[in-house]
């Protein structure tokens, strides 16, 4: 019987999530933004696994797998975009891509 309260798992998840979030907002390098996104996705995974463990259900892990799939697809597209961006603009600075401004 472990004595890890669910609260702690959730706090871990929150912390990771917020670290990732701050990274996404602060970093201008798109590569780092992608990495921060990975951290955030991972944090979500922690929360799922924790919840699944509390209720002894496999659903948490399944959800984690879906998140994993999502991360894989996202990274594939994201990296391809990065490559494209590097070719076209010779930089990975995300602030260059601001043509959508109103």
């Amino acid at each position: 019987m472990t004595e890890i309260p669910l609260t702690h798992v959730l706090i871990l998840s929150s912390l990771l999530f917020i670290i990732g979030f701050v990274g996404v907002v602060v970093r201008k390098n798109t590569l780092f933004m992608l990495m921060s996104l990975e951290v955030m996705l991972n944090a979500v995974g922690v929360a799922f696994i924790g919840a699944g463990s509390v209720w002894q259900e496999a659903d948490g892990q399944i959800m984690f797998m879906l998140v994993l799939t999502l991360a894989a697809a996202e990274i594939a597209v994201g990296l391809a975009l990065l490559i494209r961006m590097q070719r076209r603009y010779r930089t990975l600075n995300i602030d260059v891509l601001n043509q959508m401004k109103g």
């Binding site: 019987m1 472990t2 696994i49 509390v54 659903d59 600075n93």
Partner: protein
């Protein structure tokens, strides 16, 4: 206070490592170093998973996340020279002032989340029973079959999109 070797101790240690590594990822300057820190973070989380009674998830985390996705990252960085920008040219993210706003926002969010978590009377404890891969598999190919199919489509779409964007701009098509 139980010993470090106990399960709880290991969990908190892994969690601390994960957090510190993540912080290093976010604040790092060298791309490759940051990627390696990310690997460490993922591995630490994998340990947490294992300790939380999800060995299958932990395995997936190590194999797929750290093994496949991060390797993809490293490949991309190495092959297409994506790391150059950050390490050599761009003197960015240096000023502390840039960090103030987001960190403040992040802290605010954190406080809120902790407040929410603390307020809800979740006195639940984690169960040390292992949820093994068999259960996961039964469920995955039972009620979640549709989700699996959809994920496969998602991956296919990722594949197609990745191929489309990454191929050389032969006809001058726009981004």
């Amino acid at each position: 206070m139980s010993s470090l070797a106990s399960i709880e101790g290991l969990f908190y240690l892994a969690a601390t490592i994960a957090i510190v590594a993540s912080l290093k990822v976010v604040t790092g300057k060298n791309t490759v170093h940051a990627l390696l820190y990310l690997v460490i973070s993922l591995l630490a989380v994998a340990v947490c998973f294992y300790l939380m009674g999800a060995p299958f998830a932990a395995g997936l985390e190590v194999i797929v996340y750290a093994g496949a996705i991060l390797v993809l990252f490293v490949f991309a960085v190495m092959m297409f020279g994506l790391g150059i920008d950050e390490t050599h040219n761009a003197p960015q993210s240096r000023g502390l002032s840039l960090w103030v706003g987001p960190v403040f926002l992040g802290l605010l969010l954190l406080i809120e989340l902790i407040f929410v978590i603390g307020n809800s009377d979740l006195s639940l404890q984690l169960n040390n029973q292992i949820v093994d891969s068999k259960q996961v598999g039964m469920l995955l190919y039972g009620p979640y079959l549709l989700a699996v199919e959809i994920s496969s489509f998602l991956l296919l779409a990722g594949l197609v999109a990745g191929y489309h964007y990454a191929k050389p701009e032969s006809r001058g098509g726009r981004l």
